[in-house]
Amino acid sequence: MWQFFKTAWRNIRQLSGDDAYERYLQHHAEHHVDEPPLSREAFFKEWQERKWKGVKRCC
C-alpha cells in the first residue's frame, strides 16, 4: 500500500514536471560531469520556454 502511494506520488511529480530539475541533475551527473549544471532558476526558465515551442495543445 505504502509502495503504491510512493509510486503514484513519483508519477504525479513527474507528470507535472515538479521533479524536472532533480531528473536533470541526475542526467547531468551521468552524462556531462565536466561542466557545471544549470541553477534551478536557469533550468526552469529554459524548460518552460522549450515546453511551449510548437503545437502543445489541441482542441
Binding site: 507535472s16 515538479d18 532558476e41
Partner: protein, 683 residues
Amino acid sequence: MKNHLSKLVWLLVVLLGLAAVASIAFSRGESISAMWLITAAICIYAIAYRFYASWIAATVLVIDETRATPAERLDNGRDFLPTNKWVVFGHHFAAIAGPGPLVGPTLAAQFGYLPGTLWILVGSVLGGCVQDMVVLFLSTRRDGKSLGQMARDELGAIGGTAAQVGTLAIMIILIAVLGLVVVNAMKHSPWATSTVAATIPIAMIIGIYMRNIRPGRVLEASAIGVALLLLSVVAGGWVDHHEALRGYFDHEGLNLAWGIIAYGFAAAILPVWLLLAPRDYLSTYMKLGTVILLAVAILMLQPVIKMPAVTQFVDGTGPIFGGKLFPFVFITIACGAISGFHSLIASGTTPKLIANERDIRTIAYGAMLLESFVAIMAMIAATVLEPGVFFAINSPAGFVGKEAADAVAKISSWGYAVNVEQMQALANDMGESSLFARTGGAPSLAVGMASIFGNAFGKNLLALWYHFAIMFEAIFILTTLDAGTRVGRFMLQDMLGNVWPKMANTSWWPSVLISSALVVSAWGYFLYIGVIDPNGGVNILWPLFGIANQMLAAIALSVATGVLVKSGKSKFAWITALPLLWLVAITTTAAWQKIFSDDIRVGFFAAAQDMSAKLVAGVLPPEKAAVAPQLIFNQQLDAYLTLFFVAVLWIIVLDMLRVCARYVSGRIQHSGIESPYVKTMLE
C-alpha cells in the same frame, strides 16, 4: 484453464456490449438510463483496445520491443527522455483533450442522443484511435518528426505545404469559435465574467510564484492556483450580488469579444512563463479533476436521458445549426470521434518521450478512447436536460425569436414543451438572469453538469456548480486560445521568414508584434462576425471548424496510408484507408452543401444572396440591415474558405494515390526513411 476463463470473460463483455448497444439503439418512446450509454462505451472500448488495437500493433505496425526508441537513442535529459508509460499517457491525454469533445456532442444532441453517440463510438475505435496510434508509431520510427515533415518526406512538397497551411487555417477558425463559446457564456452574466476575468491574474500570480518565489515548485504552485480558482467561483457570486460591482462585469457580447481579442493579443506577446504556462497547469488539473468528478457523479446518479433517440431535426431543420444528419453529425462531432489535430501532438512531442514501442498502443489508442469517453459524458450531460430546456438554451435568437415568450412558443411547437417560468426558475437556480439563446454548448453543458453534480453532491449549490462548470470550460478554452495564437504566430513568422528572413526571428519585436496582430485579427474577425450575427455565429463557425479538422485528419491518414503501402503492407492499408475514405466522403459532401445548397441555413452563397435581396427590398429590421453588408461578405468568404479546405483535402489524397501508384508500379522503391534499428539497452 486461465485461457478458457479469459475467453469466457471476453464473451461476457461482448454480450454485455451488444445488449447495451441494442438497448440504446432500439428503445423508442421511453427514456433510457445513461448507464446504458456508459456500458456500451466501455464494452466497445475494451473490445477494440484488446483485439483491434493489439492486432494493429502486432500485425500491421509490427511493434518491436527490442528496438531502441528515439527517447533512448537521443536522450538529452530534456525533450528526448525515456519516460514511464503512464506519465506519457497523462501528458498525451492532457495535450489532445481540449474543449472540442465537450462542445461538439452538445451541439449534435439536436439530432437526438443516438446518432452522435454511435458516431463517437464507431468513429473513435475505427478512426480517431487508429489515426493517433499509426501517426505516433510513424513519428517514433522517424526520431519524432512532425506531421508536416513526414508529409513532405513521404508524399512530397505539396503534401508538406498543405499540412502547414491547413494547420494555420484550422487554428484560426478553432480559436474564433471557442472565443464565441466563451462570449456566449459570459454575456450579461457578471458572475461568469468576473470569475473568468479572475483566472487571468490568478494565472499570473502562479507564474510569478513558479518563476521567482519558488522556482520550479510546480505542484505547490498549482495547488495554490486551484484553491484560488475555486475561490474565484465563490467570489463571482459575491460580485453578482453586489449592486455597484456587478455593473463592471455586465456586458454585451460585442464588448466581451473585444476584451477577448485584446486578451489574445496580450497573451501572444507576453512571455510564456507569466500567463500561458501557469494557465495551462491550472487548466490541466481542472480538466482532469472535472472529468473524473463528472464520471463519478454520473455513476452515482445514473441519470435518465430525456432527449429522444432521434429528433425530427435529422431532416436538416435543426435550430442550432442547419443541415441534415448526413453529413453534418460527422462534421459537428470531430473531436471525440476523429480529430486531425491530434496528429500534431502524436508527431513531434509525444514520440520523444516513449521508452518502448510497446507503450504506443496504450498511449495513443488508449488516450483517444478516454477522449471519446469524455465526449460520451458531454452527450449525457446535454441529453439529461429536458429537450425543451436544451433547445431554449441553445437556439439562437435569430431563429426562435428574441422575446422569451416567442422562443418558448416556437420550441414547444416542435413538441418539446418548455415555458418561460420554467426557464426563469432554472436561470434563478443557476444564478443567471437568463439562459435563453446561449448558443455554443458551454452553458447547456454547464446546466447539465450542474444538475448532475447538484443531484449527486447537494442541490443547494446549483449556482456554484454552474459557474464552476463555466469557469472550467472557459479556463481551458482560453488556454487553447493563448496557445493557438502563439503557435499561429510562430507558424506565420516562419512562413513570412521565407519572404523576408528577418521576420523569422522570434525575438525581433517588430516581427513579433506584426505577426501576432495578424493572427489575432484573423480570428478576431471571425469572432466579431459571429457575435454580431443574429443567428449566433456558431451555426457557421462550428461546421467550418469541423470541416477543417477533418481535413487535417485526412492529411494524417493519407500520410499513414502512403507509408503503409510504401512499406509493402498494402493489404493492411485499409486500416487507415477506410477512415480516410469516409472522411473524404463526409467532408466533400458537407463542403458541397455548404457551398451550393439552396437552403439559406446551409448554403453560404444562398444565405448571402437571400440577405442581399432582403436588404435591397428593405424588409430587414434596422438593426439587422446595419450589419447585413458585413454578414453578406462573411458568408461569401466562408464559402471560399470551405472551397479551399476541400481543395487541400483532395490535393493531398490525390498526391498520396500518385505516390502509391508509383510504388506499386515499381517506379519508386521504398524511401527507407525510418531511422535505423538499434537494440534497446533499457531494462
